[in-house]
Every structure is written in C-alpha cells, then in structure tokens.
Amino acid sequence: MFKFPQGLYVDVRIEETFDTKISFKKENLEEQKIRTNKGAFIRVFDGNRWYYSSITNVEDIQEHIDTLAKMATPDPNILQHPIVKAFEVNRDTLIQHDQDSVTDISVQQKQELMESYLALITDPAIVHHTSYYVDNKTIKSIYSSKGTAITFDKQTCGIRLTLELACGENKDQVTVSKAATNFAGIQGQEDFITEEINKSVTFTRDAEPVVPGEYTILLSPEATGVFTHESFGHKSESDFMVGDETMRKEWALGKAIGQELLTIIDDGGEPGSGYTPYDDEGTKSRKTEIISKGILTGRLHSTATSAALEEPLTGNARSINFEFEPIVRMTTTYIAKGNRPLADIVADIKEGIFVETIKHGSGMSTFTIAPARAYKIEQGRITTPLKISVITGSVFEALAEVDAVSSEYQLMTFVGGGCGKMEQWPLPIGFGGPYTRVKKLKVQ
C-alpha cells in the first residue's frame, strides 16, 4: 500500500470520521451538521528520534513519508532497536457496527428523538435550555513497515441537555446527558431524564453552602470513576516514569497502596467511550490490573515506555485524533465491584458527604473533584443538598483511605468532554465502578 523506506520504522494511521450534531435552543432547531472527514498521522523512527506529520490531504501520505524519511538518519539495524522490536504486528479487520451504524439512522430519527426529550422540560425553574444530539463513528486503519495492517471501527452517540435554572436568587447551569454505543441505547430514556431534571431543580432550590473541613466521602459510580481516574489513573501512565528513578521507586510494582478490597482495572476492550480494541500504534488491547487487592501490579504503556521499563505492552498509546501522536492514556478505567450493599455502607456513616454527580476533576499531586450534586450524610441517611467548590486529596494517600466498595456497580459512556493531558484534550474515555467510601478528604 505504501512504499516504506529502508532503515526506518514507519507507521501510518488513517482516520475516517462520520459526525452528526443536531442542536436546539429551547425547542428551536439551531444546527443540523453532518460531516465526513479524513486525516492521517505518519510516524517515522530512525532509532534516535521520531518524525511526525499530520495531514488533511490523505492522498499525499506517500509524499509525507518520503519527506520525513529525508529528515531521518536510516539505520540498517532498525529492526533490532528495542522499541521497534517491541512493536506488535497485527493483521485484522474488526468492524463492530455494521448492523447498528449511526450512519444508517436518518437525521430525522435523530432529531425526533431529541425533540421527544425536549418535551420533558416543563419545570418553570428552567428558564432557558440548549441541547444537542451527537454521534461519531470512526474507522481507523493502521499500517506499519513491520507489517501491521488493521482496520477497526468505534462509535458513540448521545444527547446532552444544558439547563439554565433560576429558583429565586439560586441560579445554576446543569447538564443531563446519556450516551451509548448505538442509537437504541439512548432511546427510551424518558424516566432517566425526568428524574435527573427533577433532582437538579430540587438541588438548585435547596442546596446549602458546605462547612469546609475533612469529611468521609461516599462516591457514586460516576464520582468513583473521576476519583479513580484523577487520584490514581494518571499516575499509572508510565510515560511519567521513563528516566525517573524517584517515580519508579515510589510506584514500584508490588507496593501495597490500598486495602485488599481495592482492585483497579484499565480495559480497552470494554465497549463504550473508552473502547480501544487496538491502540494508535496497532497494539491489541489488554485488560490490565493496575492494582490487585491493594497491591500495585501494573502500569499503562505505549510501545516506547514498555521497552524502556521492560514491562509488557498494554495497548494504551492513544491520541485525540489524527492531528496528534499517540501518548500513554487510559481507556476504560474502573474500580472492580465489591461485595457490600450500598445501603449497608451508607448506614455506617455518621457524618459525611455523598457525591452524586461531577463537573470536572484534575490529577496532579493533589487531585480534585468538583461536584455538581452533593448531599450531607447524617446518621446513616442521605439528607440536605450541599454546594461544594472542590474536594481535594493527596494522590499518595487517598487510595489507602478507601474502606468500602459496593456490590452495586456501573460503567459509563459519555459524549461531550473527556480526558486532558497537556495539549491533547478531549480524549474519550470510559469510567465508573461501584459506590466507594473514602474515609477522609478535604472539602471546600
């Protein structure tokens, strides 16, 4: 297909995307956008340095391979380079959405679904609203000079309602969202949407400012997902450890960092927004246990970090789109479910806070969670809604503070937003898990 130059490693990733966006302002149609696009990312490696090119004219791929090759210094032994040796060679066609493709659903059907949900917005506290339906189907093809030739598809679709609420002087902007990997998965969501709207209105009307301090925190599956992602997920991305002895020592495999009830998994094969059957280097996805029963047992890798740290490939080299090179990222990351019923865990909490939904999170040495809806827990009961700016904790300590995980469990798919890592944002990821109790976090 391509003429790969001698003495160099080369791979080419071609992305064909189909996107729909149908937007409303209140009940009025604002936008109906259907796009098909194509772009490519080319990498050349000479054993010393990488050379990348991102292009929108895919018919020029060969020309760009040749241009990058001229910048590189060929090495006749390139196949013996540890990174090049580590690259998997996969040949596969994995098309999952032939039968339920969003490309086969008419724009009218998509619009009508959205309109049916808009009819549910009747509460007078909702003074304005904007909303959209979106879908994306991406077909990726990856070819390498070692012989990889794979093509796979992935898709998501979803709806998102942004509600402007005014309950007297209490005002807020809230979102209600539902996403799935096919159109059927977002149909019939009337009860969910109505319940979410009602909870948001009640919350805006009744929420009280929190008294800052340290609290026991109970996290919903959504909040558990953000907590896992931010408190530990980013620490498991091994590009941070390459060439850094202190980091490797602090996060040495085999170290106990949580109680036995804690297992954290990253799985690119999990259907949803984090689905990555092959990563952007053509490595097949794995189910990686990062923490097993409280012990650090794995890390997430690209081929380069896997070779540098001499650890197995995990299929976590991902980019947000054809404009960027793959770097180490999470796919679908979650705490494995426990065996305690939620009611039992709540009943144990004398004074604490339940975090139900999340606006955003971040994960440096101090991780943060900004709740959307949170509630007091008093004497084993979830009670008053609370306005909270931010919940913070130390990534070095927080996992050891997890002392209960529920048997109830949910993994989630999303549209809108995603994970950010330096210049690459937003990357679709999946997360979720059980209800999780953390003994002590700071609340502002």
Binding site: S23, N28, L29, E30, Q32, K33, R35, T36, N37, K38, G39, R49, W50, Y51, Y52, S53, S54, I55, T56, V58, L68, V127, H128, T130, E164, L165, A166, N170, K171, D172, Q173, P209, P212, E230, V242, G243, D244, T246, M247, W251, E323, E325, H360, S362, G363, M364, S365, T366, T368, I369, A370, K387, S389, V390, T392, F396, M422, E423, K442, Q444
Partner: protein, 415 residues
Amino acid sequence: MKQEFIVIREKETAARVQNSSVNAVRIKDIVKKAVRVYENGKIGISGAIGDIGEDALVKGAVENLTAGIDYPYPLTGNNKDHRSYNDKAVSSEELLEMAESILATLQKEYPDFSFSETIASYGMEVEMRNTEGLDLKYSDAICYLGLLLKEKKTANLFDGFISCDGRQFDLNKFWDITRPVLEAYRTPVALPPGDTLPIISFDTSGPLGFLAKSLNGERYATGSSLFTGKMEQQLFNEKVSLEINRNPIFSPKPFFDMEGVVLKDDRYPLIAGGKLVNVFTDKKTAAQYNLPHTGAAAGEYDDMPGLAASWNSPIPLRFQSDSTDLRAALKGQLAVLVISSSGGDFTPDGSFAAPVQVSLLFDGEKLLGKLPEFTMRSHLNKMLGQDYIGTFDNNILYLGDLPNQLQGYYMTIMR
C-alpha cells in the same frame, strides 16, 4: 443566494521534548474549510477538513438549507480588512536549533530538573469572505515554549512550568526570567504567616470563565445570570473594567467574530469602573432580546455561529490593566505568585476554592522561593470587590512578547 466562505490554514513545527531532549519533531499542515449559504431567512452550512473544492462545499451547504434553520439577520458586508501580525515567523530550522540550544543549557545548568513537552512554531491564516463584500484575512505566527518541570527528587507528575509565547523569541529576556524562576524552584520557603495572603496570578481564566457565564446575553435576558436586572449597577471594585478584546496583539486569534463582525478598536466594554454596562451578544441574541450587538459570535469553523463558545475558541474577554506598581500595591507584604492551580472551581453563587499545586513567594519584583501546596478560598464578589489588589501589565516576569497581565486579590489560605 448569498454565500460565505471560511478557510483556516494551520502549520506547525513542534519539537516534542522528553527528559530534557528533543524526542520527536512534529509537522502539521491542516486545512479546514466551510461554506454558508443564506436564502429566504434560512442558513445552510457545510464544512470539511482538507483542501476540498468550494463547489462541493456549496452543494453541501445548499442541501443543508432543507433543515430549515432560521437566520433572518443581515450579513456583515462591505469590509475589506487584511491584517498580518508577523512577517518574520520563526522557521522550522530556527525553531529546532533554538530548542536544542535551550535544552542543552537546561541540561547543563539544571541537572536536578528534567523538562518535557513542547517548543513549537505555529502559523495560521484565517479568511472569511462573502458575496456581500466581506473580505477579512488574519495571518499570524507565534513561537511557544511550554515545558513541564520535574524535580528529579520528587515523585510528583510534575513540579512546575516554564513558558514563553510570542511572535519573536527573545532568548536573552527568556533566560533573564527563567533563571530566577528555576533558582526559586530550588529554594523551598514557608508560607508567610496569616490566614489571608495576597495572591498574584498570571492566569485570569478562572474568574473570566465564571464571569462569562453571567455576561452571556442570553443567560442575562432569560434570568439565569447572576447579573440579571443589574445593568448599570456597581458589581465590583470601581477599578475593575472588563471588555471583549479581539486585538490579536494580546491574543493570537482572529480580529473578527464568527459572523464577520470587526469591533471598533477591536474592543467592546462589558464592565466599566466596576459597573455592568453590557452583556455580550451575537446577532441573534441581540435581535431576540433587544440588546446591543457586541460581535461575540463564536463556534468552530463549520458550526452555526452563536454564543456557545468552544473550548479552543472562548469569548475573548480581558480585564483592563488598572494599576501600575505591584510592589507598592503590596505595601511591603510578601505575596504568593501562583504557577499552577488546577482543579478548583466556583459554586453557582460565586464561592471559590482551589488547590495551589505550585507557587512562588514574591515581593512584587523578585521571586524568593518555592512554597508548599495549599488551598485558597474566597468569593468572586470579594476577589473583585474589597479584596481586589489590581490588574497590572506584566512588566516584571517576561513570558514572551504577547502583552500579559498579573492580577491580585487577598484570599483565605488553608494550609
């Protein structure tokens, strides 16, 4: 049928840095095009990436007219304005040479740190023209350095940043500030005593992001803005003024909005002397709610223009600098210069809290050392009210030749 054309061309050469060395070189050549057609009060839009012929896009836009999306507003026309802000862009060769030189110095003089991320040159051209005589063209090129700093002795993901953005890269000025910054990183100091400290920040995106929600004309008119009904009222300290500012001198973005509107002097006041004087609007919001039109249409190249700003194209709000002597304003008190505060937020009523992961002790002129992590807390009304110190042109800490600011407030410290 009226037609409108948008073309964006982006070129980038980026040196990707890992462990203080150039690990990769990335070249980007991206073209994005969109066509809008207008007929009988309706709009149709088509867009694509790649150098697609305009005829195909016009055909797509005409088909999109059948969606029946209203756009009964006059097109901006009769304005030719071509502006180029950098005719001496840093070439790819110069960029790589400069990156190697900077990294070699960092490796030699600061072996206790490792640096990673990007040193890049980025060029862009944005054109918008239509059949009503609109012919706008913005071209620019910037060079940017953004390096994460990691202290080799810590197990943090990173411990700080050094950055510099500009149309030209003044290496002497870069080292004049980078060396004291790196020396300060090497010098741990304690937080000054007291529950309230002056906080100085380069980054005003937190308050601006929160203010943007309530300065949105649609939210103002429909009642969900905190400022609804408060036009001409004193909201903040009388020093505080805020405007839409599309002058590319300050921020390398087009000088026109997504409806082709060019503002007089590239600016429009929203808060003046602490009083609310306008909210921002596009053509639709202005017409629908009888508000002044402020040229604030946002969106991606192929989006319906509107007030819903995308993450990479926010409404360009800017505080006006209102103070000149930061050291004098601190009245001898030592301040906290925030380098990284990630993950904080405002509650809907304006309460604010944020962890400060990286900060330096600062006397208004000199950097004195690196502070431990802490959390800061306040409320928007206090930050821009009684606890407001001022907004200053940043003539102290060189971050490149794009004019930038320092803003200060007294805030509660949680140690």
